[in-house]
């Protein structure tokens, strides 16, 4: 694998999600930043280019759908994975229309998201090569 680490941003207003995801993804060789406030995350994506964004949909302030839209506008190469406890067919459809890579319903297994992230990482590396 290349020495350049891929950068991941995790946004979820439940701290437990960030706390559990960060070490699980770091162990897979990613650099991980986590946010529980969507506004802060919004500022952060202006400063840093992330390869992968993992975001919740329903949050106070800026909601996930708008956040991912902003992220995609800022950097179209960013791949987005949506995690949500309010999974409906409509939100899934809307997410995919907005160019989301995958859509995972909460609760989910760590191994499940690890697999999806590995898959999207392979895609990104393929595109970079």
């Amino acid at each position: 694998m290349s020495t350049e680490k891929l950068k991941i941003l995790v946004l979820d207003d439940e701290p437990i999600v960030c706390k559990r995801l960060a070490p699980a993804l770091e162990k897979l060789g990613f650099e991980v930043d986590t946010f529980t406030q969507s506004l802060e995350a919004l500022h952060q994506i202006q400063e840093t280019n992330y390869d992968i964004i993992i975001t919740d949909l329903k949050m106070k302030g800026v909601d996930g759908m708008r956040f991912l839209q902003e992220a995609k506008t800022k950097n179209p190469a960013t791949e987005v994975i949506v995690i949500t406890g309010f999974a409906t067919l409509e939100t899934a459809k809307e997410s995919f229309q907005k160019g989301v890579f995958d859509f995972i319903a909460k609760p989910f297994k760590l191994s499940e998201i690890q697999e999806v992230v590995t898959k999207v990482a392979a895609k990104i590396r393929g595109a970079k090569a």
Binding site: G29, F86, K109
Partner: protein, 855 residues
């Protein structure tokens, strides 16, 4: 009532309007099937919740709320169905639902902590572990050490934070305290002044009568000496208040109340106040509990660090020891220092014996006194090698359980016995640790034995030599700290779970019994790892990372250290604590014996109890065939014609009998219900059903002669009928053979996670001793087949879950054979010595599902 409950209420109102007798059979029939399905769904949701507590899932509060609502809905359905089937004879269950669900929902809204239902004092041995806010951090840790790790901790009790709050209320201290703290925070008063005023008013306060009563009840006998210390919420957890709060040693029972107040007052000492300010806790309510334990008159005492701060990358721990009470070590006097390797055989790498000058010991009449160390002892090691060995084992199991380097206080009594006094997270200065390595980079250089296989039952990392277990014999030899590798997750493995560094099983589910036990002891566990026992040879050193589902060859020391000091221990996260509290109101099964007096709607304590009760009663309604057939003339009941003279009636819910069958009589080959077919092949196997009467000896004969039918359990309910209610994949069977009553409830779905066998066996013709002898024999046989078995007198209840269809079939066949085998067994089993012989003869004919049938 919540909106979503309305449809059920409406449904129920309609139901109430109708006369029970008027409910036509097809509707009863549908209700029964719906009831079975709802029951199954509830069991699956309970299993689902249990799985979530293993750390593999990421869930949030919404999940807990959703699943609780789902359970409530399903339970209402179930209660409605039962009342429909049973003619509204179980209306009490609605009150039961409220009793179980209202606190559950309050818990989820976070409104339950410190409510009136919480006690003023609790014994250490029965602490509610998922309520650290009630007993404080220090006591909570000790409760875990006693209940989960079973290490010797001096006995005692905790005066809870609720008692503390009541103390403040009765003395009208709350507001005054608040005002003083505020003016201190605003800079109007200094620390000393604030502390003095608060402490004075606490010491002048009166303990409420209820609290005094609790202390008097628990601090017995007169003449014992007690250690009274603080257990603040947050203490010994992420924040350490070590040494800031008072500890009173050698306190006689009559002085405990005043010692308590002194400890409470120490929460507001100038040092404690400034510490709280520094940690940003001033606004937080200080919740303090008081821990009272019997004092150990120690000949030696000290501290263990499971991480050697002078060599953090080395794999060693350090034991400090001194003479007398431990405060010389804690206080920083010179002490013996033993550096011991954490890997077996735990070699003592380095030993420095200190010149000990003074020691503390109990003063007669209470308190302590300082005395010089006798000259002949001053330069002797305070500990012998054997004691060191025990302390090392304790330290390692504490670190494995709490998943953080530990600072442990211990004591050795005058009689040489060792005691554990406290354990807390070690405070590790950042600079002591080497620069954090890139964990991915480091681990990628280690050879991988197995990756990406199996299901996570408990998330974590553990390392040790592989040890495979096949039978109870190798169970006793299991070396502490090894990695347990097994084919099946059988309940008889329970005793070694706390000793294992990790567990890998080829079979089993994350919702099974062993998985539950592994979670209780926080042992990293993977189940369903195909080929594990071939790939992992005995003695091979491995590191198991169940968070990534990777098993490395060798000891990945960087990963182990990363987990210990860098990764958060999910078990301590508030979400997981809440999940465990919710689970406690849902999952435990307390109603085991349907003949017990508490088998009533009022006796149900958990969701599991309620559905157990409903299922039992619904089946009982159907099993009451004479009444049932009177109620529903014309329903089809099949009779089984067989060489085995059981006279079985069969009620088919669908797909259980060959559609080509004619009339009312069928043969065994017409059965298409998978569970009944499997069971019957066991019952009808050659040699199983011996119809010759077994010679009854005099004692057995007398007992059977004097026994009236009414004495046989369940005789009024199921009299005269053997009935199976079946579908293509389901069977509920009641068999009365002589005085034995067998009940089997089984499901054989194509997907293993939907499957179960529940087996109940009770009664017999002889005296109770013989009947319970037979019960123990059955228990031994069934546990060989991975059943979880409970025995109560002559009642045997056995359960096995989540095995694939063919393995369920195997076990049903064995049950069929057992029914034949044990039919008159209690007459043949004359003494306990007869048991091994019978076991042997059974296993000669049948080899248990595990590799080796040896006992």
């Amino acid at each position: 009532m919540a909106d979503w409950l309305k449809p059920f209420k409406d449904f129920w109102e309609r139901l109430r309007g109708a006369k029970a007798e008027a409910t036509p059979f097809p509707e009863i029939f549908d209700q029964f099937q719906a009831l079975l399905q709802d029951h199954q769904r509830v069991m699956e949701l309970i299993a689902d919740l249990g799985e979530k507590s293993g750390g593999e899932y990421i869930f949030d509060r919404k999940y807990l709320v959703d699943i609780t609502n789902d359970l409530h809905t399903l339970l209402l359905h179930l209660v409605n169905s039962l009342n429909l089937i049973a003619g509204k004879r179980y209306m009490d269950l609605y009150a039961t639902l409220d009793r179980v669900f209202l606190p559950l929902e309050a818990e989820l809204r976070g409104r339950l902590s410190l409510s009136e239902e919480m006690p003023l004092a609790v014994p250490l041995s029965a602490l509610p572990l998922d309520h650290p806010e009630l007993t404080g951090g220090k006591a909570n840790t000790l409760g875990r050490i006693i209940q989960s790790l079973k290490l010797p901790v001096p006995d005692g009790f905790v005066i809870t934070t609720r008692a503390n709050r009541r103390f403040l209320e009765t003395n009208r201290l709350e507001e005054r305290l608040h005002a003083w703290l505020e003016s201190w925070a605003a800079g109007e008063m200094d620390e000393e002044q604030t502390a003095r005023q608060i402490q004075y008013s606490i010491l002048a306060g009166l303990l409420p009568r209820g609290v005094l009563h609790e202390i008097k009840q628990r601090a017995v006998p007169e003449g014992t000496a007690w250690a009274v210390r603080s257990s603040a919420y947050g203490e010994d957890g992420e924040l350490t208040f070590a040494g800031l709060h008072e500890t009173r040693l050698n306190v006689p029972p009559s002085k405990i109340p005043s010692a308590c107040k002194e400890v409470l007052a120490s929460l507001y000492s100038p040092a404690a106040l400034s510490y709280r300010k520094e940690m940003g806790l001033v606004g937080e309510e200080a919740a303090m509990a008081v821990l009272c334990q019997e004092t150990i008159d120690s000949r030696a005492a000290g501290v263990i660090h499971t991480l050697d701060l002078s060599d953090p990358t080395g794999n060693s721990l350090v034991i400090y020891a001194s003479l007398g009470w431990g405060r010389t070590v804690v206080g920083g006097d010179s002490a013996d220092r033993y550096v011991v390797e954490k890997d077996p055989p735990h070699r003592v790498k380095n030993m420095e014996v200190a010149a000990k000058e003074r020691m503390f010991r109990p003063k007669s009449g209470g308190g302590e006194e300082e005395v010089p160390v006798p000259a002949d002892l001053a330069r002797q090691p305070a500990l012998e090698l054997e004691a060191i060995d025990t302390l090392v084992k304790w330290a390692l199991s504490l670190e494995r359980y709490f998943k953080r380097p530990q600072e442990i206080e211990w004591a050795q009594a005058q009689d040489g016995s060792l005691w554990l006094l406290q354990s807390r997270f070690m405070n590790i200065p950042r600079m002591e640790l080497p620069r954090e390595q890139d964990i991915y980079e480091v681990t990628s250089h280690y050879p991988v034995k197995i990756a990406g296989r199996g299901t996570v039952a408990h998330a974590g990392v553990g390392a040790g030599p592989v040890y495979q277990v096949y039978s109870d014999a190798s169970l006793n030899r299991f070396p502490e700290g090894s990695v347990l590798v097994i084919r099946y997750t059988a309940p008889w493995l329970t005793p070694i779970v706390p000793k294992a560094a990790a567990i890998i099983a080829e079979r089993g589910s994350a919702a099974g019994h062993l998985a539950t036990i592994a979670r209780e002891f926080r042992v990293p566990t993977l189940v369903g790892v195909e080929g594990a026992s071939d790939l992992l040879k005995d003695g091979t050193m491995v590191t198991v990372d169940t968070k990534q589902r990777i098993i490395y060859e060798g000891r990945v020391k960087e990963l182990l250290r990363y987990e210990l000091v860098a990764a958060p221990a999910f078990e301590e996260a508030p979400e997981f604590r809440q999940l465990r509290r919710v689970l406690k109101r849902i999952a435990p099964l307390n109603l085991i014996d349907p003949a017990a007096p508490e088998f009533t709607p009022q006796g149900c304590q958990s969701v599991h109890d309620i559905i157990r009760f409903i299922h039992e009663k619904a089946v009982e309604e159907l099993m009451d065939l004479p009444r049932f057939m009177k109620r529903f003339k014309g329903i089809k009941v099949w009779s089984l014609t067989s060489e085995v003279p059981i006279g079985l009636k069969i009620l088919d819910l669908g797909g259980g009998i060959d559609p080509g069958a004619q009339g009312t009589k069928i043969l065994a080959e017409n059965i298409t219900s998978l569970p009944l077919k499997a069971l019957w092949s066991g019952v009808a196997a050659p040699g199983v059903w011996s119809t010759e009467p077994v010679p009854v000896d005099f004692k057995g004969m007398m007992s059977s002669l004097t026994k009236t039918r009414a004495e046989a359990p369940g005789s009024t309910t199921y009299a005269g009928f053997n009935l199976a209610v079946i579908s293509d994949i389901y069977m509920n069977l009641h068999l009365r053979l002589g005085y034995h009553l067998n009940l089997i409830d089984a499901r054989m779905h194509p997907e293993a996670q939907h499957n179960h066998i529940y087996f109940r066996f009770v009664g017999g013709v002889t005296d109770m001793t013989r009947r319970s002898r037979r019960a123990h024999l059955l228990a031994q046989i069934l546990s060989k087949y991975q059943f979880k078995v409970d025995v109560k007198g002559d009642l045997v209840v056995a359960r096995v879950l989540h095995l694939p269809q063919e393995e369920m079939a195997e076990r049903l066949e064995v049950l069929g054979e057992l029914i034949g085998f044990t039919r008159q067994l209690d007459i043949q089993l004359k003494t306990d010595e007869d048991i091994p012989q019978f076991l042997e003869s059974f296993f000669q004919q049948h080899s248990p599902a595990d590799k080796s049938p040896s006992l």
